[in-house]
Amino acid sequence: MRVVIEQARCCGAGQCVLAAPDVFDQREDDGIVILLQENPPEELRAAVMQAIKVCPTLAIRLEG
């Protein structure tokens, strides 16, 4: 599972961090998404899927 983020689309809502705090974080001031791990372990798949679902700008996707 490889997580891909598009920072240019991100609006800093932080919904992904609420869904999967082990995979996503935010920059301090503008809240733009930071990827903590590009290849998270399989047990985090459900959390990552939830983050993808709640992202208001569809800035996260999975490859593989």
Partner: protein, 396 residues
């Protein structure tokens, strides 16, 4: 259920389709969308789309492959004009009649127009075509007026200023975002706009427009003063797209009136900007015109259509980018709430909490996205054990 129709092909409509599939609904989905464009994101229209000349590719929601995977029939451009509640039939302007078992209404809002006839050079901003027209027009308009001091007006003012234009914001409120946030926030925002070179004419009434040969050349205030401009954006609020539903039998007020589960009638749900629903966590009727709500409410409405029976109790989230300020908020900010500042307002980074009736109901971050997210937890805790049902309507 064999057929679900989604009326409205924008963010909430797309989220409804995605949720239907994610929840395992495999039957027919028809989307009726008024705009010819595939679903796109509206927030960038007042900001990056104009200031940074972003291409459509950058603001579209999902690509063709994603839409194909969803397997819905997209009828665009098409408008619904009549709903037969008992017969379960939706009629389109082209006179097609579509039967449905489930219906999700995500028709959104339209900009409130300035009363009377307006000259060329006066715009409103809601859709992609509006934004594209504005983007072009700004190239030949050195002086710009923004009518209205809400989120859209203030964002557009910042965008036009970024393009180097002479910008005047005119409104009858005492400070920007007066309907969203307490005055302390509005005043700070006003100061930031002035610092960036935007002229604010607050507490002013607008009388009308001045023109030559059908082209705008000024905005006239009630006191007779004329502010010379070549372009004006009217951003004085919006109205829910419900005109076609007045005779349907659905309850219509400020939007489509739904219960705490986003249900407007048996098998009929509403979501996004057009939906007014009872929030049982705040004990208040809300209608939210923010991007995040479109996604969250569409998902909740779909779950309930499919049988979940859960109140929709989100912690509303909004954001706005103006100059170098990233404003974000969770929750609600009642007019009689009390503001508590965490940190220093003058520092350019702080979180403000809103207390109302003995609990914390709102949190606002000023360039403090990460700290704000942490205070969201407090709002969730404060709401957790509260459930306030809507008072029953009694005949007068």
């Amino acid at each position: 259920m064999r057929t679900v129709i989604v009326v409205g092909g924008s963010a909430a409509g797309l989220a409804a389709v995605q949720s239907l599939r994610a929840e395992g609904y495999r039957e027919r989905i028809i989307v009726v969308g008024a705009e010819i464009h595939l679903p796109y994101d509206r927030p960038p229209l007042s900001k990056g789309f104009i200031a940074d000349n972003l291409p459509f590719e950058h603001i579209r929601l999902g690509d063709q492959a994603l839409l194909d995977d969803l397997g819905a029939e997209w009828l665009v451009p098409a408008r619904a004009c009549e709903l037969d509640l008992n017969g379960r039939i939706l009629r389109l302007e082209a006179d097609d009649r579509l039967g449905f078992d489930g219906l999700i209404l995500t028709t959104g809002v339209s900009p409130r127009a300035f009363p009377g006839k307006v000259p060329g050079g006066v715009y409103t901003l809601r859709g992609l075509d509006d934004a594209a027209a504005l983007r072009t027009a700004l190239g030949t308009a050195p002086r710009v007026a923004v009518l209205g001091t809400g989120v859209l007006g203030m964002e557009f003012a910042a965008t036009a200023r970024k393009l180097g234009l002479d910008v005047t914001v005119i409104g009858n409120s005492l400070h920007p975002l007066a309907r969203q946030f307490p005055s302390e926030i509005g005043e700070l925002l006003a100061a930031r706009h002035r610092e960036a070179g935007v002229t604010l004419r607050l507490n002013e009434q607008i009388a009308g427009f001045e023109e030559t040969g059908g082209r705008l050349n000024g905005v006239r205030l009630a006191n007779g003063e004329i502010i010379p401009v070549e372009l004006a954006l009217v951003a004085i609020g919006s109205k829910p797209n419900v005109d076609w539903l007045w005779t349907s039998g659905l309850l219509i007020g400020d939007g489509i009136l739904c219960d705490a589960r986003c249900c407007a009638a048996t098998g009929i749900y509403a979501a996004g900007d057009v939906a007014s629903w009872w929030h049982s966590g705040y004990g208040a009727r809300l209608r939210i015109e923010h991007r995040m709500n479109a996604t969250e409410q569409a998902a909740a409405a779909v779950k309930n259509l499919l049988g979940a029976a859960e109140d929709f109790r989100p912690i509303p989230f909004m954001w706005s980018d103006q100059h170098d300020v990233k404003l974000q908020s969770y929750g609600i900010f009642p007019a009689d709430g009390a503001l508590e500042i965490e940190g220093n307002m003058a520092s350019g980074r702080f979180v403000a909490l809103c207390h109302h009736q003995g609990r914390v109901v709102g949190a606002l971050g000023w360039n403090a996205a990460k700290a704000l997210r942490q205070s969201r937890m407090r709002l969730a805790d404060a709401m957790k054990d509260i459930r306030i049902d809507e008072p029953a309507l009694t005949a007068a």
